[in-house]
Symmetry: C2
């Protein structure tokens, strides 16, 4: 039906007769002539209808935005002064000989270039309009191309693309499962997988050696923080390889993607232990584009007569840090108040600060609500350790360790974004040597990753001091976002047993929850490990999109609904009866009324 895509035409085609298909992007009538910008997946071409061809001209007069047409015409150079150098096709236009209206369109719910002025709900409800925007098409195309690069990279490296079930059993990731009632097994349910974790480990036990899958995963969580009920994971697992080998393959893959699709050389990824990351940045996914770091000052504050600092400084469960913001002395009182409220979200009870107006003027050169509570030499030691100079502001965090890490960690990101202290470019790193367990509020140990993660010590050492045991896990972080993570898995029943013991999972519970994995471990399980990347997030970062919803064709809203299809929706009583379930009374009543 067409000879070229609209976006493909240029001066080389002048004199050719071409056929184009696409949408009427814009129509202008000017000087007795009709100009139509015709749009398809590849771009725009200007089509000109002149009155010399009366019939075609008359039809062109009926065109409205978003009509679908087929045009045949002659490519010619645009007249002097009408060349548009910003458009690849801006040097030419197509003089229409024939016009066919393939489909009319009613006035769209919103004009493509006015999408910013409508709510996201309207955009999602009319997604077939919203996706017509070139940037949306480009993002989905980019995603498709990156997926293909990933697949070919893994295929070339001997990984087999193996599909694992969507209708499966509850997995141990800990988030809430989506459930699917079984019709043939009354009263029983499938769960949608939170990840293919157990299946990929089974595939290793089965000798598949190298597995990958770009897999749909599901979590029925409340959708704060740009999450989706279903998301896509690049899932990788390999046997007979240690963490060095796996990290090397993963890093090479990500480097190749950035090289090929963005022309960016990410270089070798630095490594940082979890302990160092938490100490310097209060985060296990530090954004290394920001040079600000935490300065621990508990030793300096332990003796001061200022309880807000001295208390945490003398508590081993707490932490006192300074965060120097270069040039931050210009922050207004209101801005500082806003940051104080901001760290409050993370549980900080206040935000102490010192402005360094003149580093050489002693206390006179400082401005702060707190220095009056401290000996002068402590103030100077703090400034020296934080490497403060004239024009800086120093913020302080003093609280339980995780409150300080979260509050000041978030403040670091926010202040840097607000004040232009985030470097351009890409800052990848590996975070390694994670603790095996974290302690919850009740003092119980929980797996930091999942209970199949191998520790870097023996079963005996693990039992002896679980709280300090490190795991063979690794996370890839890019610009402060966790791109992916994984670990070497446990491949020996005695080690798995030790981990379950530490977690307080009894034999019966273990057998019930993970029996088939334990049986597999006992049936000749190779050393193995792997990792998983969040594809949505990777594409979001690479395209500079503001949300993963911008790189997913049909995302759900924050309430886990699809405005386009109106999913979820009601179903018939007959369907429920077949599935051996009924709605809870209150719902039934609500539905009947």
């Amino acid at each position: 039906m067409r000879s070229h895509y609209c976006g493909q035409l240029n001066e080389a085609h002048i004199g050719e007769t071409v056929s184009l298909c696409g949408w009427v992007h814009r129509r202008r009538d000017h000087g007795g002539v009709i100009f139509v910008d015709l749009r398809d997946r590849d771009g725009l071409s200007q089509v000109v209808f002149d009155p010399d061809r009366a019939e075609t001209f008359a039809l062109a007069e009926t065109l409205r935005n978003e009509f679908v047409v087929r045009v045949t015409g002659l490519v010619r150079a645009r007249p002097e002064g009408t060349v548009n150098p910003e458009l690849p096709t801006g040097g030419i236009e197509v003089l229409a000989h024939e016009l066919e209206v393939l489909s009319v369109a009613r006035t769209p719910a919103f004009q493509l270039d006015e999408h910013a002025s409508v709510s996201e709900d309207v955009r999602l409800r009319h997604r077939y309009i919203d996706l017509r925007r070139p940037e949306m098409i480009d993002r989905l195309r980019f995603r498709s191309k990156v997926s293909n690069t990933i697949r070919n990279f893994l295929d070339d490296n001997g990984f087999l693309d193996i599909e694992t079930p969507i209708l499966t059993r509850a997995t141990p990731e800990g988030a809430r499962d989506y459930l699917v009632p079984s019709r043939t097994h009354p009263g029983e349910f499938f769960a949608l997988p939170q990840s293919p974790q157990l299946f990929k480990q089974i595939l290793m036990v089965a000798g598949m050696d190298r597995y990958y899958q770009i897999a749909k995963c599901f979590r029925d969580e409340d959708l704060r923080a740009d999450r989706q009920p279903e998301f896509t994971q690049i899932d990788i697992e390999t046997s007979f390889m240690d963490e060095e080998g796996i990290m090397s393959i993963a890093e090479t893959m990500i480097r190749q993607i950035f090289q090929r699709h963005l022309g960016v050389d990410l270089g070798d990824f630095p490594r940082m232990t979890w302990t160092e990351a938490m100490r310097r940045f209060g985060s296990d996914k530090p954004d290394l584009r920001i040079d600000m770091e935490f300065t621990d000052i508990a030793d300096l504050m332990a003796g001061v007569d200022f309880k807000v600092f001295a208390g945490p400084a003398n508590d081993p469960q707490s932490r006192v840090v300074a965060l120097r913001v270069p040039g931050g002395a210009t922050l207004s009182r209101k801005e500082i108040d806003d940051y104080t409220r901001f760290v409050g979200i993370y549980g900080a009870k206040g935000l102490a600060w010192i402005k360094v107006n003149d580093i050489n003027a002693g206390l006179e050169g400082l401005q702060s609500p707190i220095i009056k509570f401290m000996p002068e030499d402590v103030v100077h030691k703090v400034l020296a350790r934080a490497q403060a100079t004239t024009g800086d502001i120093i913020f302080f965090g003093a609280d339980k360790i995780n409150v300080v890490n979260e509050a000041i960690g978030a403040l670091r990101l926010k202040v840097a974004a607000d004040t232009g202290l985030v470097r351009e470019g890409w800052a990848p790193l590996w975070v390694v040597d994670f603790p095996m367990f974290e302690t919850d509020k009740e003092g119980n140990l929980n797996s930091l990753h999942h209970p199949f993660t191998a520790p870097s010590c023996s079963p005996e050492e693990l039992r002896d001091s679980p709280a300090t045991a490190l795991s063979r896990a690794y996370d890839m972080v890019l610009n402060g976002t966790e791109l992916g993570g994984g670990s070497i898995r446990i491949n020996r029943p005695d080690m798995q047993q030790a981990v379950f013991e530490v977690l307080g999972i009894g034999e019966e519970e273990a057998q019930e929850k993970f029996g088939f994995l334990l049986n597999a471990l006992a049936s000749g399980c190779p050393p193995h490990g792997g990792l998983a990347f969040g594809l949505d997030r990777l594409i979001m970062l690479m395209t500079g999109a503001s949300s993963i919803r911008e790189v997913i064709a049909f995302p759900k809203t924050q309430s886990a609904a699809c405005p386009l299809t109106d999913a979820p929706g009601p179903v018939s009583t007959k369907q429920l009866r077949e599935l051996n379930i009924r709605l809870r009374e209150t719902q039934q009543q609500a539905q009947q009324s």
Copy 2:
């Protein structure tokens, strides 16, 4: 951890020190020496432990089948007389210097080479053992490679890999949906997609131009006939292209897959109208490897005094056919009785036949329970039309059209398989010109494909004579199996309206069921169409597997359960409460007791 895969070693490696990792496939002690066949994904290598290295030898004595080990040793030529020419590695062996037991294994549920003697349920329950069989690994590897070829072919042809939702709204394919209760929208449900049909059409309306996805699809049907609750579809859709273009791309893709992965040139696919396929083979997916065809003989039988034939011969809703089986005169009475029972499954009330013992001997040369009811000239005309020769048997079908088609169509396949009349090789074809609608028992018209399939006539013609209207649908058939199918879709609201009218779908119902698609059609919808292939079935055919369960890593049983993970399973009352559902009383009681 290893220098080579076990299957990679050959005479070129003699004299090299190598490291292998894998499973103990078999251990033999012979002449004071221990031989271990070590197995990994790529094959087997023979490893030799001799008593000269006492420590290693002692460890080797502990090896049992399916232990996972790492061996370092010297590749050497096998001694004269012990070379195994059937194994790629059969010319060499590895003299072990070091042995490391990476993981022990208890006695497996079944030995790999005894899989045929255990039930499929046992194989599925211990799938991590079952998948170790080289043929299973090879099939999954083949599947992965074919998927990759498909993806690259489509990527090269400008198709974008776009993911569509798994949590969505009920789709109109007509099978039973799997439902997922929504936690955040009490009383409402998602459906798992039976196909991405509506989404891919929306993507065309959104201007994506060319879409593909290797997509999971779900149908909650009773699993006769080698079906799975979740299956995988190669889903394709394109805009501004007619059926010729789409069929050409699809055919090229399948040809390329067979060329690359089986070294088979499928050639150009012949085309056959649906009407011709039903007439000649009683099937819309004829197996062209079988030369037998139906011979219509209603005109010859209309006047005979044999009601079994004359009745259907005079009924326009019925059909009378002969099926010549070359060499079938040797069939025993018992075999014929078995075939009679077989066609009974399809509703045939009997199976008439004539054995042609000598074509030149008149009625004397024939043997048949029915010729006594017919004039001799009719018998001879039937034999002549069926091109019968000495040694054949002719079977007859006389009944309602669909009974004859199904019964004699199935008989054709069965007799051919039983008597070696199925040619070796591959017989692809396109079936085209399907009817738009089929009439159900109540006389209502239903879509033969789905209600978005475009007819090859105008809306007016469709309304005037819907029963004879043809669609722009096409099916690709290979060796009697439907590999895939698709159609040009309706892209104009007036045509969609006409189809809904014929189907008796009122405006309100249409709006409720497909409102978002109708809105999309009215918003500038390009001409578009596509098709979908069943990946499981394609791989099954190409690998010669006996069932799609043999080409799926973790299939479900006939009762839609997974013996490996014991899915589906019970869930807690708390989970159900969160989802605003409860079990029906009878189930609840059953569970509590």
